[in-house]
């Protein structure tokens, strides 16, 4: 039982961080960025390259992962989302193609085989017969720090509040003189940054592979669909529902079935309650 609670908390915190970056773009631009999973991969490989191949300090690797993720987000906005503005399906198809291109690029540079990341910090903690690596606890802790930072940013800075305004009512925001293009760019940048960092944590939690982007992408989609558009709180709650469901399925039923409730949730929610648990009613 304690085992499940600890593992569930660790996984869910990670999922929450992953989903926040995705939900930002979905809320502000109403766009599904199917290449979001590729940010994670980019982040993971940048960290791997800098910290393990070049042997620089792990902190440098983490910062670089965030930076390159952010850059990837900005480039994606400039060269895909902006030119295809308004055509959501086209953006989704393009980002899907881009994800495959990035995947192939990674294979070209690093090969197809999976890689193991060294732990962020060494050691294992034992608590009432339950073991957990310090590294995972640190990852989840840092995830929470970032989540709180995003929350404070959105609530208490001018740019953050403008993001909120654009997500709630793009036309109204434009009338109030908010530069939607700037806001979109900031959002894509932040999303990429969060994705890059989340990628390092996710890769150290599992492993590094050119195909590691699909799984988290689907988990993220599920969290956003079930949580509903534009709700950070909803994202956090649902991240925990899905994280715990996965851990419970893995512990009590079968590890192969870990994603089954995630898929079922996506299908059932999209059919019966498309606005999700905490989402606003879409006006149009």
């Amino acid at each position: 039982m304690t085992q499940i609670i600890i593992q569930g908390m660790l996984l869910s915190g990670l999922y929450a961080l992953i989903a926040i970056g995705f939900t930002l773009i979905f809320s502000v631009g109403r766009v599904l960025n199917l290449a979001y999973g590729a940010y994670l991969m980019i982040g993971g490989y940048v960290y791997f390259y800098i910290s393990q191949q070049l042997g620089l300090p792990k902190g440098v690797g983490l910062v670089m992962a965030a930076g390159v993720g952010c850059l990837a987000g900005l480039l994606k906005y400039r060269f895909i989302a902006k030119p295809l503005k308004g055509n959501h399906v086209a953006i989704e198809i393009s980002t899907l193609i881009l994800a495959i291109v990035i995947q192939s690029g990674i294979i070209l540079m690093f090969g197809e085989s999976t890689k193991i990341l060294h732990s962020l910090v060494p050691g294992i903690i034992r608590l009432e017969g339950v073991t957990a690596p310090w590294s995972n606890i640190l990852a989840t802790g840092l995830s929470w720090v970032l989540i709180v930072a995003v929350f404070l940013f959105v609530r208490h800075t001018h740019t953050g509040r403008a993001m909120l305004a654009v997500s709630q009512d793009p036309k109204g925001a434009a009338i109030c003189g908010i530069n939607a293009e700037w806001i979109n760019m900031v959002t894509w940048g932040i999303s990429g940054l969060l994705g890059g960092v989340a990628g390092v944590f996710f890769a150290s939690y599992t492993q590094l592979s050119p195909f590691m982007w699909v799984g988290p992408l689907i988990v993220t989609v599920a969290i956003v669909v079930v949580g509903g558009i534009g709700s950070i709180l909803g994202t956090l709650v649902v991240a925990h529902i899905i994280g715990f469901l996965e851990i419970i399925v893995v512990s009590y039923i079968a590890p192969e079935l870990r994603g089954i409730f995630t898929m079922l949730l996506i299908i059932l929610f999209l059919i019966f309650r498309p606005r999700g648990l905490f989402g606003r009613e879409e006006l149009t």
Binding site: H88, I97, I260, M263
Partner: protein, 315 residues
């Protein structure tokens, strides 16, 4: 109404003759590339009949194809059902399965529909590994499925006939009023409803047709390769290959997906000596992305424009 112009008919007859004589001139290896291009073209046509026409983007097409593949493989390998029964039955099962995907299409559109179909594909991938692994072969898949062709030449003719048969029938269907109505559905669903046409019936027709083609293609594919594995089937890379074939060739047409499938397959073969392995997709995906962003109607429309300009200049 005249079915086809004489001069087009002659061009097509000549083209088919060249294809029929192909095995006399090229190696078995090249023939195998043709075979894969043919199967990809079938899947691309299937995707286009649904998504290219009606605008309901399916991100889970491998789900439909997979039903056809698994249905015939299980029937033939585990229960000894003869291929002449297992293939039609597999097509039927695929069409039934498509109703599952059709139901969400009544409620959600656009991105949401695409997501549901993606979830269906991943769900199928996970379920097929754990539910009755004695039948599905679990993670390893099914080997030693009865093959219906022997040698590359045989397979070449089989796949050519299958592909052109499906393309021809689809072409016939799409030039009827049903084809016009399906295209109209993709442009303005509300106006189709406002013209007194049941969009539910039209969508169902599109799903069933698409599933028919996917099931047929999938079933023949299973009996051509003789072995299937869940990871190569219910896979986002497979989905990518299908969608990109349609988009590169030109969606909303029959010839477009075929052009796309051949372009894709042969481009990958061309790149093989320089970039073995998955790295080829880097170049290929890059071309696909640029083409899709700047010419969303694909090669077909580029060729079409060139021909019109050339004719315009000649007059």
């Amino acid at each position: 109404m005249k079915l086809i112009e004489t001069k087009h008919l002659i061009a097509w007859a000549a083209f088919l003759l060249v294809l029929a004589l192909m095995p006399m001139f090229v190696s078995n290896g090249t023939l195998r590339i043709f075979i894969f291009a043919n199967f990809l073209a079938v899947f691309a046509i299937s995707w286009d009949v649904l998504s290219g026409r009606t605008g309901y983007i399916s991100f889970g097409h491998p789900f439909l194809i997979g039903i056809g593949v698994y249905a015939t493989a299980i029937m033939s390998k585990r229960f000894g059902v003869p291929v002449e029964y297992s293939i039609p039955l597999a097509v039927l099962v695929t069409m039934l399965g498509s109703v599952l995907v059709f139901l969400p299409a009544l409620r959600v559109k656009g991105s949401y529909f695409a997501l549901v179909t993606l979830a269906f594909m991943e769900l199928a991938y996970q379920l097929v590994q754990v539910i009755r692994p004695d039948l599905t072969g679990g993670t390893r898949g099914i080997f030693g499925i009865k093959t219906i062709t022997r040698g590359a030449e045989n397979g070449y003719y089989m796949s050519m006939c299958l592909m052109f048969g499906i393309a021809f029938v689809s072409w016939l269907v799409m030039r009827t009023q049903l084809g016009t109505a399906l295209s109209a559905l993709g442009m303005q669903e509300e106006s189709v409803e406002g013209s007194g046409k049941s969009t539910t019936k039209l969508k169902l027709a599109a799903f069933l047709m698409s599933a028919f083609i996917a099931g047929l293609g999938g079933a023949f594919y299973a009996h051509y390769v003789g072995a299937i594995a869940p990871r190569t089937l219910f896979d986002i890379n497979f989905l990518f290959t299908i969608i990109v074939a349609v988009l590169i060739g030109g969606s909303g047409t029959i010839i477009g997906p075929i052009i796309g499938a051949f372009f894709l397959t042969f481009l990958l073969e061309f790149l093989r000596p320089y970039l073995p392995g998955a790295g080829r997709y880097f170049i290929y995906g890059g071309i696909a992305l640029l083409l899709y962003m700047y010419q969303p109607k694909g090669i077909y429309s580029i060729v079409d424009k060139l021909i019109k300009r050339w004719r315009g200049g000649a007059v």
